[in-house]
Symmetry: C2
Subunit: 339 residues, 2 copies
Amino acid sequence: MLSNRQLLILQVIIDEFIQTAQPIGSRAISKKDEITFSPATIRNEMADLEEMGYIEKTHSSSGRVPSEKGYRFYVDHLLLPFHLSKNDQQLISSVFEQDLVEFEQVVQKSVNVLSDLTNYTSIILGPQVYETTLKQLQIVHLSVTTAVAILVTNTGHVEHRSFTIPTEIKASDLEKLVNILNERLVGVPIVELHHRLQHELTLILNHYVDDIESAFHYLKSALFDQQPNQVYIGGITNMLLQPEFNDVSKVHALYSIMEKEELMANVLRSTHEGIHISIGHENKVNAMRDCSLITATYSLAGKQVGTIALLGPKRMEYSRVVSLLNLLSNQMSHTFHDW
Amino acid sequence: MLSNRQLLILQVIIDEFIQTAQPIGSRAISKKDEITFSPATIRNEMADLEEMGYIEKTHSSSGRVPSEKGYRFYVDHLLLPFHLSKNDQQLISSVFEQDLVEFEQVVQKSVNVLSDLTNYTSIILGPQVYETTLKQLQIVHLSVTTAVAILVTNTGHVEHRSFTIPTEIKASDLEKLVNILNERLVGVPIVELHHRLQHELTLILNHYVDDIESAFHYLKSALFDQQPNQVYIGGITNMLLQPEFNDVSKVHALYSIMEKEELMANVLRSTHEGIHISIGHENKVNAMRDCSLITATYSLAGKQVGTIALLGPKRMEYSRVVSLLNLLSNQMSHTFHDW
DNA sequence: TGTTAGCACTCTTCACTTTCGAGTGCTAAT
DNA sequence: ATTAGCACTCGAAAGTGAAGAGTGCTAACA
């Protein structure tokens, strides 16, 4: 169990290290206003804190640096609610103050605001489409041999894919097929589309000509082959501003995984509702073992669907970041409540 | 004027430096098969080459390094046609070997292949839409108050924007408007759309109810506010692999400009037809003064429309890169010829 | 006359010291 | 229980010296 004095000292060390990225010595701590005892006393306490694993030395005669256990304790027990500045609040709100409320625009703007505000890298995972349903399916012919298939969801999301029409398929059959599909599939959740197409509809389609079936197969592969995970990343270059990433090789490892949408989506997807913090080795991805990842979920029409995250050094401004994420995810959920 | 021997030596120096990124000394040059004279002779020639500004020393007793003037001479006069490996050719071709020929997919794949093949950063600027025309305009209602407007071009490109419908506009008016617009605007080049909407159509629309006009204004802002420059970038992390970018601050400057689509679009747009090489300070953008940028244009339906580029250190494999870009841009133009 | 061997000179790199200062741990005094 | 004092440790920065790569110049050579 930690004494009050130890708590205080731990707090000062972490707060200070978050700002300076430099090891903190006993003398520096004693200079703080809230500290009333001498460096020698502090040294004793620090020796205890180190023994318990909350802080570390970088070398035998250096100042102390928070350990991952220290950060963990800090975010679990020492995190003070942070009062966001008017400016912070305004910038977050500004995301939602435009007329054209399209999901992608909002997310894109959010990502930028977040990374600008924090100087960390922000990542937003688009909505998982549990509740999203098909609104309309359409084919626009471009020429005799090419067409573009367009899929609109009830959230206003648009997927499209163009394709060449095999010669064996008649344009009229394609039209007919789209009509049938629209009749049958409007309102069906997107996640079920693939399944529904696969099983139910093949039966129905057998009542019609063979040609339709091949058209159908073609369309299916055109539209539903891969349902992309929408990962939005902003402020990647911010990583380079952090002193802990002066080493190019570290940056490279980190940037490489950020290029892998699939991986990032999995990392973000696997979090529980609310705010969650992963510090250093708590992250499953190796390249992130020097980072902290703070995730917040937002909801769309009541259901948890997406994740907002900030990736930075372990030495993050946890308090402020948590407040920012809270504010943003709430406003986001609120804005998308009606959908 | 350079003697044949000087040309040979310059060629060896640049070829060697491109591979090793290390200053080349007279001894190393003399070891090359194609070199038949002694280090001392080479030193004399190198002194001349340096005097003429084609090569430089990094310090008074170092080996020589190509200067920008040297690179310029190299690409202008010493560039040998490079025979691409089977593998290179196959990878480039593989981009076009899929069924679903959508422009964005092709470009995205190209960007990836190029950066993988070269270990540089590849940038592709999407087609300037001179020839692209409107194929279809559409509105899909999501709810009473929201809708998504979808614009399809004859190239299969899809733009969409969702918006909230102001209460003073009736849904039926919106429908009517879209019908009118489709009647009048299909086949009109995209670049003219804004203009056409602005001038010609307002007249026509005055024949109809006032409500349509406000709907029209709304729709216009929803769809045509900003025509985005499509800039595709791949292999940004490759920059980190180059020894000249070990310095984090350089990388940061470079990455920052790459985040600015507008800027990148301008840089790429301002090139002439065919292949063009900008070396170091020839680049207008400051952050690129340590890089070379090689651009190639591709055409869509005969007209020059887009740019493929590779960004790397000045010490690029010019010969191979030029061949790769040539091949890709040709295949691209060929593929899109029919559109 | 063009080429080359030889040599003195320059400059970087690397390993090794030295110095300096920040910070610690321990002990003894308060 | 707290603190002053002090010896000790270690890293960072600056300095030193030897090794090595490379040059420019000169004189000899074909």
